[in-house]
Symmetry: C2
Subunit: 243 residues, 2 copies
DNA sequence: TGGCTCCTTATGACTGGACATTATGATTGG
DNA sequence: CCAATCATAATGTCCAGTCATAAGGAGCCA
């Protein structure tokens, strides 16, 4: 009597024990179900998870194959900065630094494939943990896509929390990079000009239209951390690592 | 007649259409199955995916709830640097810069919770794309955990490709950060000292024991990019963005 | 008020069956 | 020898039912 978890674990064991080697084909569901003494659906569920974990590949008619190189993937949960700070046991504070309405800068028009006439709300916000600068948020919101953003104040809570409720199921492109702090970033985040900062950029689309672009500058020493493995469900956490 | 995909899409539609608002409870599986004219298992499968996507939360006896704030998560596939380069249409070249055997430095002993007597293989490798430095790999391998690493040459292929076959199903902690290039990094990657570089650090455990630690320094301007959304399966790609 | 037990309810898992879908590989025809 | 065709084998999905599991909540008792 095996659960789908037992079956999954057993298959991983047999792969790591080199009984089934990378590239090779493993028995079909019917045979496996017989050998484990379960229904085929149970084997199928175990297999579906192995596919999801990037350990095997399946093709109809062809069969199930051990991936030549196991696909290493992390699931990162991108936290709302407020929760991230509060989960670290620090007090959260939000400051709106700057707010204006106008056309998008040229690089942003190009990046989001926007017509040059589009008006955008530009915001600069600072998120603080225990009074120390934690994240600087440079945000542009397309007013043609979310007109409600024209008049909303954004003086109490950041635009991220507001936007996530306006457009919960958007298409997102996110990118991680490193960049040197310019004068503005250095001033806001309390670091030196030229310091290496971790940066996330995210552009959000809703029904094909660009809704918002954000550039998040994290404080010096920030790291985004995640654990993963075959057994454990992947969890991620952000650590400040200040000092 | 609805498939689990139809059901999933319909539920997303009803949440985004504010029929079911964040925090509220949605009907139980039996009622939903009746209303969609399917078996409960089909509704269950749709729900399981919604949980996986971070859109709803489920608790036995309590029911299924629309998450107050949808969990934004990205699935990043961490590419083998060789494939990453070749997929970008560039030629891959590998150079072993330095190799030695000795005790682990103190910071690494602390970080991996190793006894100070442990011997490690230390490697420095450079991965090039079209002849340009792409990634600098500083690698430590615990020889007590993988004795075979003592004598392997690592002159043709990098240790990552070798290790992934030795220990395919390991527990991993991965972290992303930004750091300034020191003299070594600047020299190897052909950038200036102090340049902001994107950095990945990864420590790998096998049956509770630390096997290897690696610090990957990416060339200036590197970004790790991923797209995700409710419909699309998440895909990730790395772009060099040189220039 | 506070804490304990126990019933109930909703999800989670599994069964043994069925039909749908597809890509493969063999067969056939030019 | 190549290309089109087709049977088939494997996965993918679904059904109707059963049993397992966890936790909310009512009721009880101190």
């Amino acid at each position: 009597m095996s659960s789908f978890r037992d079956i999954k674990a057993d298959i991983i064991r047999r792969i790591s024990g080199e009984e089934w080697t990378p590239g090779s084909r493993i028995p079909n569901e019917i045979d496996l179900a017989r050998s484990y003494g379960t229904a085929r659906a149970t084997v199928n569920r175990a297999m579906a998870e192995l596919v999801d974990d990037g350990i095997v590949e399946r093709r109809r008619k062809a069969g199930t194959f051990v991936r030549d190189v196991p696909l290493r993937q992390v699931r990162l949960s991108i936290p709302i900065v407020r929760s991230e700070i509060e989960q670290n046991g620090a007090s959260y504070r939000y400051v709106l630094l700057q707010s204006s309405i106008g056309p998008a800068p040229e690089w942003l028009q190009a990046r989001l494939a926007l017509p040059s006439t589009v008006e955008m709300r530009k915001l600069s916000c600072l998120h603080l943990a225990d009074g120390l600068p934690y994240q600087l948020e440079d945000r542009w919101i397309n007013l043609a896509a979310t007109p409600a953003a024209r008049s909303f104040a954004f003086d109490k809570t950041g635009p991220s929390e507001w936007l996530i409720r306006q457009i919960p199921f958007s298409e997102v492109e996110i990118s991680f990079s490193a960049a040197s702090a310019g004068p503005d970033e250095a001033h806001s985040l309390g670091c030196a000009v030229g310091d290496a900062l971790f940066r996330i950029e995210r552009q959000t689309y809703w029904t094909g239209q660009a809704v918002t672009f954000v550039r998040l500058w994290f404080h010096r020493g920030y790291r985004l951390t995640s654990r993963y493995g075959p057994g454990t469900d992947t969890q991620s956490a952000a650590r400040t690592g200040r000092g």
